[in-house]
Symmetry: C2
Subunit: 346 residues, 2 copies
């Protein structure tokens, strides 16, 4: 039984160790890496008992004392639907990780499992913050002078105008918490003019103009990277395609760069020399350097990892959850949402 008190400075996370394409071997290796590299971290790992055998292998006794195994009865499939997730999820590794957050024993949880299951079980177990309809996945894309926070990235494939407005508010609050005094917000569309786009973005545009937000209007896809706004809002279907295509393009270019190491002397030397600037930018799209998207709107901190996360990527997601736990964004959203006079859920 875990201690539900939280000694000062200790970050307590719950990892759905059964999730992800590579299973417990990879997630537990990442968990041990996290424990070793952060002395303030206390980590629950939730999985089937058999998978958890040897979870602490290789840790010192002091480190092992900060890794606690929590038994689950199942691991949800990666293609599970919401109804099945609700029906079968309570005693799953995901359900157990969310439970630890709901109980207050963990400050945040991490899962590389299905977004559908994460949302269904997250809404059931943690609930939504008052006034918000559905959670949204947010992530950062590199821009010329920093980064653009983009949401939604796949939690909501069909959205209405009120949801887009709520994404804008959640994104702005999150960026305030990251130090932007007055975060600027743009709504992704196929053009800048008022009449552009389909009915839902046009309605959201009109609603956003009425709010006390630093709303800059419609932006186009290329402006994700120019730094024109701090927060870029779109539906989860488009957002998912945009993020994954950008990752794919960056990966192809990085492989180009690496591939040149095997070619002529001239190119080889060049790739080595020009590396720093370009590689730093490209690395921001590499899951091994950048992984873990907060699922905003829930009454608790939940971080989604890439399903295909390897050990390094999973370690990044655990660290991201630690950052989110420290920032306590959901509490801040809950307090500030009313300032924006957002629509109540329908």
């Amino acid at each position: 039984m875990a201690d539900s008190s939280n000694p000062q400075g200790r970050i307590r996370l719950a990892l759905d160790a059964g999730s992800g394409d590579y299973g417990a071997e990879v997630t537990l290796a990442a968990a041990r890496d996290a424990i070793r590299s952060d002395a303030h971290l206390f980590l629950y790992v939730v999985d089937l008992p058999a998978a958890l055998a040897g979870a602490s292998d290789g840790l010192t006794p002091a480190q092992a004392a900060r890794l606690e195994c929590v038994a689950a009865e199942s691991v949800l499939d990666s293609d599970v639907g919401p109804a099945t997730a609700i029906r079968q999820g309570a005693r799953s590794s995901l359900g157990g990780a969310l439970e630890l957050v709901a109980d207050g024993r963990a400050d945040a949880c991490i899962s590389a499992g299905s977004t559908t299951a994460l949302i269904a079980l997250g809404m059931k177990r943690l609930g939504m913050l008052p006034g918000l309809k559905r959670p949204a996945l947010m992530s950062a894309v590199p821009s010329r002078n920093g980064y653009t926070s983009m949401l939604d990235l796949g939690a909501n494939l069909n959205v209405d105008a009120v949801q887009l407005v709520q994404f804008a508010i959640m994104g702005a609050v999150a960026r305030q918490h990251e130090g932007e005094a007055d975060p600027s917000v743009g709504l992704l569309n196929v053009g800048h003019e008022d009449g552009k786009g389909h009915a839902i973005v046009r309605e959201a545009h009109e609603r956003l103009k009425q709010l006390p937000l630093n709303y800059r209007g419609f932006i186009e896809g290329n402006e994700l990277f120019t730094g024109r706004v701090d927060v870029a809002v779109c539906d989860g279907f488009s957002g998912n395609l945009v993020l994954k295509s950008s990752e794919g393009l960056a990966r192809m270019l990085l492989e180009d760069l690496r591939g040149s190491l095997d070619s002529s002397w001239r190119t080889r030397l060049g790739a080595w020399m020009s590396g720093p600037t370009l590689r730093r930018t490209l690395a921001r799209f590499d899951p091994a350097h950048h992984n873990g998207a907060p699922l905003l709107g829930l009454n608790g901190v939940v971080v989604k990892s890439h399903g295909s996360a390897d050990r390094r990527a999973m370690l990044q997601a655990i660290r991201e959850a630690g950052n989110e736990a420290v920032m306590r964004v959901p509490g801040k959203i809950g307090k500030l949402i009313h300032n924006y006079k957002a629509e109540a859920p329908s």
Copy 2:
């Protein structure tokens, strides 16, 4: 009055010279560049008479004989709606360029004007190919071993499943015409499994499985760049965001690379040396190197340029229209569409 006969080997194009952000000064300069660089090209330039004054300046008499000015009475605004385009468009520079294609005097036309107006007037003046509902914009994105043809890129912000299927067929036919014996097709979605995505992509997926197409199922955004399929299909809203964000990312990285020329000796030398591989890839996202998207499904060849095309980019769009005119894809789509037993328009 133009000669409506077409001497063998001559390509006759009609340029909406009034379109685009920079107007006739830029479009006519590009037109002269095109005339100078291709002795087989005959080019109609359509604009207000005042804008066309001096169109042939600097051309030799033989070159000037291949550039014919056609007077229009108006130039449509870039944010014009479909109803206004239909009402006011017949005597516009765009309407005039389409008219030349409809009359058989030009083999293809080019416009940097509003996609909305291009579709509305294109459908009215040229008509759709039998069995197809709406045109789609297609373009090529670079992939590891070649390119992926992607459609729609903004002609259809809301689509139904039948339209997605028709995009797949049009894309496959276009790629056959470019030399692929059996082009592979993927449907962009947020995951690979059958149950993923919203109702429209799921329905299109089931319909595509029934067709005699080399259909590879759902693909994710990153697979645009891996070369997994020859043709990637999606709605025009997502497609536009994906294409423009990829262009924006490529531009940012290219500027990174160029920016390093102004920094230290080591990085400067490195950027110069590693240039060839990476620059070639990035250039494919640069409108100055790659511009002009065919609007497929119309009964005639129509090429859309970026609105913000400069002189070099506009020249690329004219050249792309020349290629499309030679390939005569619409005729091919018209002949092959029935082989695929596509749904009739509703």
